[in-house]
Structure formats: C-alpha cells, structure tokens
Symmetry: C2
Subunit: 324 residues, 2 copies
C-alpha cells in the first residue's frame, strides 16, 4: 500500500485552495502522502484523514537551500505550486515585492528540481489576469488569446508561465500550467471580493436585515469558479495533463459584482444600500473576464459540479458559522 | 547654454553601445550632460569631448537606495537603460541570476522614478530574442508578432517590456521600448559571435593566412545592425519616440554566420578551416531572426548608414589595432 501512495508537495499550503485539494484527495479515496509548505501555519486542522497522510513544514520559499533539501528528501511525484502573492491591489502598492517574490519563489523551486534531476510533475498556477483587457468578441477567452497583463501581479504570472516553458523545453522539466480564473467557496478570506460581500451581508442579516455594504466597482464581470471544481481540475491536470500545455480553469460564465450582491441579498432575504469606496477601485482594472474551459473539458471530461448559487449558499453558511 | 543642455543618464555605461552613443552626441554637436552608471569602469577614455560633458559613477544597480539618490540629484531628462546581463548562453547556465538581475535592476530604476515623481523619458532596451522562433512567412518580423521567448534571458526581456507597460499605463511613467536585434561594430567584445570571428581571423591573417576558426552553429541567420545605426535610433526614440510604444531596431536583412565568415575571409583574403565546438551550440536556438524596421523608419526618417561590409571592415580595422 505504502508503495502505491502518491506523493504530493503543495506550496502555499496554508491557503484555502490547498485545504480543498486535501479534501478532494480524501473524498475521492486517493491514498496520498502530502507535504505542505507555507510561510504561515495553516488555519485548518492537519489530520483526521483516512486516505491522506499530511505533513506540514513551515518554510520561507525564498530560502533556496531549504527548498532544495526538502525536495531532495521528500522526492514528490507531484508538486502543486499554489504559493503566490496573489493580491492585484497589493501588487500596485508594492510592485517590486510582488513581482520578485512571485518569480523568485518559483525559480527556487525549478532550480532545485533541475539541480537534483528530480522528475516530479509540477502544476504551475497562473491567472486569468494574464490576459488583461479582453474584447467582447473574444469572450469567453481561449488559451491561444494574446496576453496583455495589466498589473504587476499579472506580469509576474506571465513571467512564471514563460519560465515554465523555458524549463520544460530547455531543461526537460515536467510542467503543466493553468490560467485560473476567480475562485470562490467556503473558507476563502474576506480580503477577496466575494467573501467580503458575504461576510458583510451575513452581519447585516444578523443585525436585522438592513445596512450599508461597502464595495468597489460593481460593474466588473468575472468568471467565478467554485474552489471545489478548481481543485478537481488541478488533480486531473497533475495526474493526466500534457507536459508544457496551458489550461484555463474557469466556468465559462460571467457575473458582475452587482449580480453577485443581488443573489446574496436574495438568498439572505435582505435589502441593502451600497456605498462605493474609492480606495477599492484599482487602476487599469479589466472590465469583463470570462474564460473558455473547452480545452480542459474536451481532454479530461472535467465538469463543473457547483453552480454559482450553490457556491454562494455554502459561503453564506460558512460565514454564518464564523459569526456566532 | 547650460540651461539648454540635455541631461542623459546611461545605465550599463561601460559597454560598447554607450561608447557609441556618446560619440553620436558629440558628432552631432548635441550639447549634453551625461551621467554614466555601471558596475565596471568603462574601458574608453572619459573626456576630450567638446559638446558632451561626461561623468561616470561606479554603482551596482541592484543597490536601490543608491540609484534613488543619484536619480534624485541628477534629475535626468532622458535615461538610456542599457544595463543588462545580455548573454543568452550565461542565462542557460545561471537562469536565476540572469532573470533576477535583469528584472530587479530595471524595477529599482522605475521605482526610484515613481518614488520621486521624476519625469524623465526612459528608453527600455529589449531584444529580438523576445520573439523566439519565427516562421519563415512572418519574416521580417514586425512589432505586433507574438512573443515566444526561448531562453531565460529572453523571458527577462519580455518581463521588462511588460513591466514598462504597467509603469506607463498604471503609474504614468514615460517609457519607450525597443526590441533591438544583434549589433555589430568596433569595440564590441569577443564574447559575442561576430567579433570573436573577426578577432580569430585577424590573428590567422597575421600568422600567414591559414588556420582553424572555432565556431558554433553556422547556419543560424541574424539581423546584424551596426551599433552606430543603433545609437542613432536610440537618440531618435529618446527624444521623439511615442510613450508606451515598442520599436524594432534592426536592418531588415539577415546573414548566416557562414556568410559573415565568408565576407570576413574575402576582405582579409584568407582561407580557413572551420571547427565546430559543440560547447558553443545552445539549446533551443532560434534559426532565423530578421526584423522589420518599418515602424521606426516610417515615423522618424531613420535610415541605415552602415552596410554589413562597412561594419565588418571597421571591425577588422579595430581588431587589427588591438593586435599589434
């Protein structure tokens, strides 16, 4: 049994995507040994799984030597590279830190694999932000669309993808890439837009059902994919994806933030006033991003399980549980 | 007079492009105050100009604070950003150093300008390597061709260009970009391919006219532009280029390395045997790169002055003068 176990390494393991990935392995009875790395301890419990054996190690991924040692000792079959400074807003405030950390962390990982000639399959997580502004006629956007990254964060993600191709074609590493669109789901922190709405609205509901919601630009449209569908795509791509290929991970549907708020108010049966906070408006923000997931669907029979309403329901339930 | 002087800052000032840029200013009687920065002292004499007042400062451009101070004190009108780790071969050996240094140096410069709200026009020098492999039907390649960088060096150059666009559109900096194709000319070091041929052949000539030339892949075709034409383009783009635009700097012509060797042997009237050194072959090398300079020509009446034969003549003369 031990020999058949798949060995996964997850960077950025303390985030909510990683948590759902572990749940996915467990729920699908995939015997796995998982080594999680992060600069912060995970907030979720690290055990109680039947099929997943999970070890966590606190590490700064900028520490090149440490990464090398861990990789060499653990010899993973699969690496899910989730670690990133993923805030676009932060990248506008601190472009150097955002750009350098995102690319340096990734280069440390790749160089460690190259140095020890390790054959792990890597899933490099990119972002829909790489596309930048997309014309209406090109929606939903496919993987062969040109990249016009519009923020320091997005440039770092494009650089990561280009470096992935160099390491695949030039050094023979086994890398599959995603361009992942906005995720939503339970456990997501309220620094992201949808959970920040859910949290605020759950509080308003608790206080009697009327109040003011603080928001940024409500007209922007995003392709929100439930994180549980996202991690099922990641598992498929890690285990079956084609080396050197890039896959959109998305829902093929777009909702404006206004529509999301309406849906949430409807579920909660409340009515709110909306206050626009100019500090939440970002320069150069892309108006409409909707992705095509045809490539992923056609090749791996990946199907979305979670509707937007189900995702929002579950997020409300999660924030209500946090707000006792 | 002092007030009308244009203030230029040149990074990577100890290289041969900078040297020719200074000559250009002097030869065109452009009253200029030039501050040169480099981690190495320039090998050329730092004076004897009539129109150009040149100051050199030895500095590591990775030293963020130092760059900030120098920029704030000097308040340049124009910044010619030549500094780079420009060896593709080195980037394959040390991808992290090549990538990080190229992007970090540039980010330090941009952040210093942003911090002090300086309005200098920057010319960001990119590379034809950004295009990667180009299909025959797309030659000569124009600026709207997709980018498929094929080396760590090329990825850094693409990242630099994408960051330039972020800083132009998001922060309002005044940046013009080039994709510069291979340069040749006097004073170029023999770590580059054409001067390495010239140097070897000049030595063979001196020893009686027969011998062995060591070379890499001779079938690759490159667009070689004389550095003196390159710097005239840089001056035009610094002073007249359109903010946020990208311009190929190239000759519209391609020569294989074999053709270059034949031309050199012809000029020198010698006949050599060629020995292929496999260490000089690079992974993923692009076969044929020829650029279209139509955009630059159409907008700025830029014309090539130096033919390939004139460039090679002058390079031979230079290496003969070094080889007394």
């Amino acid at each position: 049994m031990e020999q058949q176990m798949k060995k996964f390494m997850i960077t950025g393991c303390s985030g909510f995507v990683s948590r759902h990935f572990l749940e996915y392995l467990e729920n699908h009875h995939i015997e796995s040994l998982v080594k999680g790395l992060d600069i912060n301890y995970p907030e979720f419990k690290q055990g109680n799984y039947r099929y997943v054996k999970f070890e966590f190690e606190k590490i700064d991924l900028l520490d090149k030597e440490n990464i090398e040692n861990i990789l060499y000792k653990f010899q993973p079959d699969y690496i899910l590279h989730l670690a990133s400074y993923s805030s676009v807003a932060f990248s506008w405030k601190s472009p150097i830190i955002s750009f350098q950390n995102n690319t340096n962390i990734y280069l440390n990982l790749l160089e460690a694999l190259r140095k020890y000639n390790l054959s792990a399959r890597i899933l490099s997580i990119g972002s829909s932000e790489e596309y930048g502004n997309i014309e209406m006629k090109d929606l939903p956007v496919t993987e062969d669309h040109s990249l016009k990254p519009g923020s320091p964060y997005a440039v770092a993600r494009v650089a990561q993808e280009l470096l992935s191709q160099i390491y695949t074609n030039g050094y023979g590493l086994d890398i599959v890439m995603t361009r992942s669109f906005n995720h939503i789901g339970p456990f997501q922190k309220d620094i992201f837009v949808v959970p920040s709405f859910v949290k605020q609205l759950v509080e308003i509901k608790k206080k009697g059902g009327s109040g003011v919601l603080v928001a940024g630009d409500l007209d922007i449209v995003r392709d929100f994919t439930d994180v549980r569908d996202v991690v099922s795509a990641y598992y498929l791509l890690l285990t079956q994806g084609r080396k050197g290929e890039i896959y959109n991970v998305c829902s093929n549907k777009g909702f404006s933030l206004k529509q999301i708020i309406d849906k949430l108010c409807n579920i909660l049966n409340i009515d709110v006033d909306i206050k626009i906070d100019p500090r939440l408006l970002r320069p150069n923000d892309n108006r409409i991003i909707i992705g095509s997931s045809e490539k992923l669907k056609a090749n791996y029979a990946w199907e979305l399980i979670y509707t937007i309403d189900k995702s929002l329901d579950d997020m409300i339930m999660y924030w209500q549980s946090q707000n006792q």
